[in-house]
């Protein structure tokens, strides 16, 4: 019996997340064209989110077939968490196998941001598992920092050169990679900060009022304040329900961001994958942490012998 929906995966191992290192237009096209054409020939949805230059190149070389390719809208890459969800949802909305050429915008990221995007690359492999989606991730060796190129070799389970695909011996299991990202200590909150202590669920409304007032003073737009309140409420509810029942909120701002951190001195959290994977792909009851990652601009979650810290960040301008 033949399965008509058998995925058109390369090779025996179903690695769905490939790295393409390219140093020029020719190397890019040598891999991207067969990837896109192969998908179109198999009747698979093909989605492309890459630089303006590479988009134009692909359009030109695909000719009339470019019409069947879906090119990403501008600002496709917002936060790592939202991008992971968008790719996950896209894979699930396709009735069968699908292909994505996705080039993460690395240029101009801070160290923190780059670390989170690398973590996203690692975890994308887990989010895509068994969806039938095949991602090819181009990295431009001419312009990217050496650290980004090195890390990319750890986060992709397979490598692509031209039309050839092979397993990547340097690949690190995503859980391990994510845990390693959390060994970088979080910067201490500044002296100039506000604190709110709570010791039960009846104080969470006051905590929300405290947060709303400070976020408003920091000129965060109303819609962003609403999102922040949902995150703060969820983090505090976690401390009250599952943790020690009491905790504190620390609030501070920088020129660029609003920080709001919930500390649960008696909490413990398995943080390597906490809230990173869509609820339907993880076995953990991580929905609350998932929503925090989706609605904030960034969230660090750490668990030590001193308890659990959930540090949420909102950009003051976007």
């Amino acid at each position: 019996m033949t399965d008509l929906r058998a995925p058109s995966r390369p090779g025996p191992a179903p690695h769905a997340h490939h790295l393409l290192l390219y140093g020029g237009d020719e190397q890019f096209l040598d891999a991207a064209l067969p990837f896109a054409r192969g998908g179109l020939a198999a009747g698979e949805p093909v989605f492309v989110a890459t630089t303006r230059h590479n988009t134009a190149l692909l359009r030109r070389h695909l000719g009339a077939r470019a019409e069947h390719v879906c090119f990403a809208p501008t600002h496709w890459y917002r936060t790592p968490a939202q991008t992971l969800r968008a790719f996950h949802d896209k894979a699930h909305s396709a009735p069968g196998p699908s292909r994505v050429l996705g080039e993460t915008p690395w240029i101009g990221l801070t160290g923190d941001e780059a670390r989170e995007w690398s973590r996203y690359e690692a975890l994308l492999t887990l989010a895509l598992a068994s969806t039938g989606a095949w991602h090819l991730c181009p990295y431009d060796t001419r312009v990217l920092p050496a650290s980004a190129l090195r890390t990319a070799q750890l986060t992709h389970p397979a490598l692509t050169t031209g039309a050839e695909h092979r397993a990547n011996p340097a690949h690190v299991p995503p859980e391990r990679f994510s845990a390693a990202c959390d060994t970088v200590p979080l910067p201490e909150p500044p002296e100039d900060r506000a604190e709110f202590h709570f010791d039960g669920m009846h104080q969470i409304a006051d905590l929300r009022a405290f947060t709303a007032r400070l976020a408003h003073l920091a000129a965060l737009p109303a819609e962003r304040i609403d999102s922040l309140l949902i995150c703060v409420d969820e983090a505090a509810a976690n401390a009250v329900r599952h943790g020690g029942g009491a905790g504190r909120c620390t609030f501070w701002t920088t020129a660029a961001e609003v920080f709001c951190e919930i500390t649960d001195p008696k909490g413990s959290l398995d943080t390597a994958l906490a809230g990173y994977l869509p609820p339907d792909t993880s076995h953990l009851d991580g929905r609350g942490l998932w929503i925090i990652r989706q609605l904030s601009d960034a969230a660090d979650m750490r668990s030590t012998e001193h308890g659990t810290v959930i540090r949420m960040r909102m950009k003051r301008r976007r």
Binding site: A205, E223, I230, D233, P279, D280, R287
Partner: protein, 115 residues
């Protein structure tokens, strides 16, 4: 206006007859989400949809939204939970969890104001 079915420092809940459902004012969080679910379960009016008016709700916690989705999925086939809101936050949470998919029997009607 008839007295609320439920009232605490944060939240008031009224029942509505036409359409059958509930109207809320205030904030829903960990302290009163069970009251919301309890009163929702008591709404009858089958086979009509259940309507939940949240236009005067200034905060709805994530756990309550999760409970609303579970409630909608427990309705008899063909019935839906119809939710009215004024803030984009509910839609944002639904989208983030994939609960905006057509197979989830929850309809969100947003009345967004600019202020």
């Amino acid at each position: 206006m008839h007295p609320p079915l439920y009232a605490d420092a944060l939240l008031r809940i009224w029942d509505t007859a036409d359409p059958p459902g509930l109207r809320l004012a205030g904030q829903v969080d960990l302290t009163n989400q069970a009251a919301l679910v309890g009163h929702l379960l008591a709404v009858d009016g089958a086979p009509a949809d259940v309507t939940l008016d949240l236009t005067e709700v200034t905060f709805l916690n994530f756990a309550s939204l999760h409970a609303l989705v579970a409630f909608a999925e427990s309705l008899e086939p063909g019935r839906r939970l119809v939710v009215h809101t004024r803030t984009p936050a509910v839609a944002q949470m639904l989208r983030a969890c994939g609960w905006d998919r057509p197979e989830v029997p929850l309809t969100l009607l947003e009345e967004i104001t600019d202020d």
